[in-house]
Symmetry: D3
Subunit: 163 residues, 6 copies
Amino acid sequence: MTATVASSLPPRTVALSRATMDRLIVPSDVNFHGNAFGGKILADVDQVAYITASRHAKTTCVTASFDRADFVAPVHVGDLVRFDARITCVGRSSMEIWVRVDAEPSEGGAPRRVLEAFVTMVALDADNRPAAVPPLALETEEERRRFAEGQARMAARRREAGR
Amino acid sequence: MTATVASSLPPRTVALSRATMDRLIVPSDVNFHGNAFGGKILADVDQVAYITASRHAKTTCVTASFDRADFVAPVHVGDLVRFDARITCVGRSSMEIWVRVDAEPSEGGAPRRVLEAFVTMVALDADNRPAAVPPLALETEEERRRFAEGQARMAARRREAGR
Amino acid sequence: MTATVASSLPPRTVALSRATMDRLIVPSDVNFHGNAFGGKILADVDQVAYITASRHAKTTCVTASFDRADFVAPVHVGDLVRFDARITCVGRSSMEIWVRVDAEPSEGGAPRRVLEAFVTMVALDADNRPAAVPPLALETEEERRRFAEGQARMAARRREAGR
Amino acid sequence: MTATVASSLPPRTVALSRATMDRLIVPSDVNFHGNAFGGKILADVDQVAYITASRHAKTTCVTASFDRADFVAPVHVGDLVRFDARITCVGRSSMEIWVRVDAEPSEGGAPRRVLEAFVTMVALDADNRPAAVPPLALETEEERRRFAEGQARMAARRREAGR
Amino acid sequence: MTATVASSLPPRTVALSRATMDRLIVPSDVNFHGNAFGGKILADVDQVAYITASRHAKTTCVTASFDRADFVAPVHVGDLVRFDARITCVGRSSMEIWVRVDAEPSEGGAPRRVLEAFVTMVALDADNRPAAVPPLALETEEERRRFAEGQARMAARRREAGR
Amino acid sequence: MTATVASSLPPRTVALSRATMDRLIVPSDVNFHGNAFGGKILADVDQVAYITASRHAKTTCVTASFDRADFVAPVHVGDLVRFDARITCVGRSSMEIWVRVDAEPSEGGAPRRVLEAFVTMVALDADNRPAAVPPLALETEEERRRFAEGQARMAARRREAGR
């Protein structure tokens, strides 16, 4: 099953554009109490989301929005942080990317969820105008469920922006 | 009038902790089509919000959440970008910071709104536990209105987090 | 009253090009004793001066000179530093920018003056040749006094360069 | 089957410490002809190797050596580069990490191998002395083959260092 | 002949603390017209001056002042820039460092002087108080001349600071 | 005596392209135990090698390979590190650069060898194709010996790459 957006481009799977990044938190990421700045984490979330979006669209992209993001656990210097980005849903030229962030101390200890974010990216053509993106080839029940949830969030964003 | 949160700390005004940052967008901020990465902008939003929060609380802080943020206009290499952060509302140890981002081409042209963000920061003591923050001394009608709106958003965030 | 340099460009006020930057000093700004490198501070002084100059001239600019700059107080990791840049005086294509730098510990304590600098910037056209800049519309007695002092410094720099 | 090095630490699999990093090559990674600096790529190779080593050893590590590394294809601005690091072989306190680097243009086109590197990392205790590392639990025929090849390279490095 | 400042520390020559740095100007050093930011050059001047000062004093140092610095030639992306720092003169705990900056296009062409700067550094002890520095062992006629000129500048700086 | 590679370009000496870099290791270069990342050192080795190669070839260059590099001593925050790059040998469009890295604590103590590396760089023309490089004018017995050793390594690299 592929997404219902009409497009002449061949559909692409979620797996083809998934992006991951393992990163060590170093002194230049943290304040002088050893806590990572939230903005440094968001900058990395944006980078992996960008990579997933441009792998799917095969063109340059631009960040359209970040949904509300809660830092549910702190990140410290020396932590190993894993960013995992997957496309959930596509519109004509927009894509919703789901990014999960987990951290674990490099010297052992249980990993913990830090953040979950939904980033909307828009594909652009050479003149910086929105470009059509390939439909999403959904392969699993879970991917279909996430696609439907993503469509509901996309509709809600349009309603909110219309206020 | 000061905010209603009971506290033994002397109240502080909105003006005392306002922070601004003018920044030139340089080649290392942009992708190879000249568009600034959204995450670089969010990292700067977090920095000015951090400065406002720590100016108000006089202690180290940590980012608790970013509300939904829409990039309503692009940012290009060579743009002059202004970040303006003000505290709107305080809880016991949390603060809501309102950040506006505007850009204008350095070679002339009208400024444009890029982004508006609400960042929640939490004050921490020396043991990284939430610390009480000073009440907010509200001086204008507009500050009182924003405080009320901020309280509503704080309540909504607690409801959402409780889901 | 506007500056006496003849120009077909409409005069612009000091306020229109003023630039400020609030910045937190982080571990990557300091040596391993926690003191900020002077050169990191000067790089930021140059950035805000550049923004003021290019806001006034509406064109790209280049740094021509830094007057003698004394670091009269140290800057430590965790300090909040404010850079404040204002144009004082213009020549045909050159501008004198006055930058003040103040620091305060993010965990409370009195702010202190760190540095005061006069930076000369030159406006450039598309071929990297000096370009005419708008005259300065002086609005206050203090701005007029600073303009006169700036003209004296500009003349002294020309004499020194002529040696 | 686990590696033959005697150790009181529980063995860990190759999969547990594998690290990957997807990265977009931006203007600050390249010279002014758009080619990425080899040293920027090696710095990232070292980062993912460090993460794999410290995930296996659960302690801080230090780079002991890089084997000869050939850049068999160029990397350009706008490329998406994937770094993939796996542990191949362990000694008492040293680990050999195998890192593969592949690049593909973000606007489409076939991926290409850029580099393959073997990095030797040493685990350190709190006093910066070599620390014992867990044995490697080998799960596949390929992992066993790579372990044997890694042991041969480790022996060759010791011989060369002894010269 | 050694400098006349009384000190129990053994004198050190100019050559022992000379520092040089060759650097390629990359896209992240320049504005979007390809001109290097003056502040980036000054940050590097401060770094090599710091290295010379700390090589002479064998302790941590802090920048006390920069004398007036004129950018007499522009620096472009792709230029090879050489920074050359030598100590000219010492006081009880202060040192004057003379830094010359030259640039040449990496693709050929004559080198040109970009900047000459005199940086005053102060040696600090473990409590961040001024620390005595070794006397300067002058070896050539030119070093003696520069020492005398440096003493005159040091005296002039004290007079100016006393205003 | 000049190198035997036929070329219409005038020969250039080893001294003309030698590059050095003195650098202070700062908190952003190190892990949270104060040890410099090996990859940060290799990135700097690549930079000085690039400068030497492009000074010799007077054109843009690209890193072709790094020979095996052993970190024979650690590098700590606060160390002064000196990189010294010299060309040893040239082929038609390739150059072998020999880089030595030494470190000494900025607060005194004996310098120590950290690393020795042989980097192969290739000169490129405007279309990113290999470009002929000037022959090497050898001036001392030691330079002639190093040239011969470099030719042997170049031949060995070709044999290994041919596998």
